[in-house]
Subunit: 373 residues, 2 copies
Amino acid sequence: MATPPNYHCLLNEVLSSIPLTTQSITNSYVTEQLNLETCPIVTVTSNEEAASIRSQVQPSTASRPIAQVLEQANSIFSYRLFNHHPRFFGFLPGPSHPVTLLSDLLLSSKNPHAGSWSQSSGPSAIETGLIRWLAEAAGLAEETAGGLFVSGGSMANLVGLQVARDQVSREEWEQRVKGIIYVSEQTRSSITKGLRILGFNNKQVRKVRCDEEFSMSVPNLVIMIKGDREKGLTPFLIVASCGTTNTGSLHIDGAYSASILLSKSHKHPHGISHADSISWDTRKWLFQTYGCGMVLLRNHSRLLQSFATGAEHTRDAADFGDFDTPNFWNFGSELTRLARGMRSWFSLQVLGLDCVWGGLIMGLSWGRRLRRS
Amino acid sequence: MATPPNYHCLLNEVLSSIPLTTQSITNSYVTEQLNLETCPIVTVTSNEEAASIRSQVQPSTASRPIAQVLEQANSIFSYRLFNHHPRFFGFLPGPSHPVTLLSDLLLSSKNPHAGSWSQSSGPSAIETGLIRWLAEAAGLAEETAGGLFVSGGSMANLVGLQVARDQVSREEWEQRVKGIIYVSEQTRSSITKGLRILGFNNKQVRKVRCDEEFSMSVPNLVIMIKGDREKGLTPFLIVASCGTTNTGSLHIDGAYSASILLSKSHKHPHGISHADSISWDTRKWLFQTYGCGMVLLRNHSRLLQSFATGAEHTRDAADFGDFDTPNFWNFGSELTRLARGMRSWFSLQVLGLDCVWGGLIMGLSWGRRLRRS
């Protein structure tokens, strides 16, 4: 058996090539941004091309020149949707602002372990501050308000749903079987998926009819709740995109449009401040890259009740349940986590609120134009 | 009400400052890497400093100079653990190789939506190829083998556990109440947390004693399973860090040490190829930044059975259940997801297997030294 190579042998080589390679990546990014109109909106591989790409995965034994791998990567990445293409309206877009490239690079260069306060107190302080500020924008002005940055809207919804479940029935299985959830016909798939992950049966989910404005019909909802109660069942959760009635727990899936709360001209809270939990994505109308959402809670201690664990290998870390100095691993499903919130912080600081407002206004005007046409 | 600013007004300003800012970020990264020995291992904020940082979150109305925000960010990030500090052994480290800075920047500059094949066929082809190759390294050589890149080990474990649950009892609550899970005394907290998320009661989890090698005692396990069966319960899942017996489903939490499968000199599969699902982190012994883990499955269609949804707003996308052309949103809990696997691909291509092997050997030699001292 040959002696294994020194792990460090490539460190200096890579470090010295970082300036040139980052320059190459960012140059082609800037060029692409300036010429978006001329790119195809989407390119999909043929079956043969896909097979050829799949065959390019096995690393060689030896290292390879970075520039060569970069060229290969660029060719692979060309088979994708340019989701911020100016002529693309076919899908929920990811309208990331170029400043997020800098936010992402910065976070990646620091790579903090924001699971615990002692490992990442600076970024964690920003994340708690930001969550509190956004919770306040949503009308959750209580001192107990808190939340968590997670990997996206689906995970934010999952956390909100679990908190609702655990508040109503922590260990009693029999109660869970009787728990009933109300969603509207317009509720997104991540809610149904989240309920399935949490162990709920499809028969426990009621679809409430919508009115002509696509809003959940409250009279219909009231009739359903009454009927379920008469059967001895336990209505415990309403999932609203925008709702007004609260029975048990009210979770709002505001992934896209919660950002309207930061608009000066279109601020219609519509009772959002009555929610127990809210999901809110940064990669949508906060113009970030993919990979970050938020869940906001009226009472952050409910997150602890659902997620805190006394892991043996974390017992030496002081157990910060205080939201001012949080061990975020006790607030959600991840143990190790990046300080995703720092990305939003950086972008928001650079852009300022007027620019975010401008983006919202632009999106709304496009929506109106599509509706008319 | 003032006219909202044009969202585009800052685009060119930011684009033109990208080269200088990335240079500034990467320069301070390289300097830090070359001077790690002189950094403090960890700095934690005082309460006053934390309060001061929390107060820096609200964006101003106007935009701010990027260099100014960057300076502020650097000061906030200084309050963290330098987890790859050469004198740091206190915690499971995040030993990321500098090449991952380039992988991360590249992925962020492309920002693909790898939820569906039609949006991201190039990166998706790499992800499926990489998963297959690693599954084969783990001994899952079946044509049906597959898996998913997720945000970390906790999420990988969660997916594996859910698949086991859904295979045994898809919609029958009564069966779930009788389902019994076996873990060892050494099992990580993410397993217990995952089971809680999935709706299992603590009373359904059995802790199997370990022998003097910290391995799950198989005789003890057999006695427990027999006892539970006699009570009319349904043993359905064994969670192994390294296991030999398979009853129902066998999930292996190999987050850290599964990477040993890529070592030439220490390859001891220890029955890992008998697993139904395996969790494997890239940010541990594959030397990536935080935010990526894998779940590998002997049979990828079990992921579809647990996670596929027919969402109304995705119904126009062809429903690719084929693992060669996957819509990854049907394979896990996230709808929108970054092509996290592309980061691992880029790093592995640049480093080559010998370098990864060198890193593993270095880690093992440190472990031996600590054991002796």
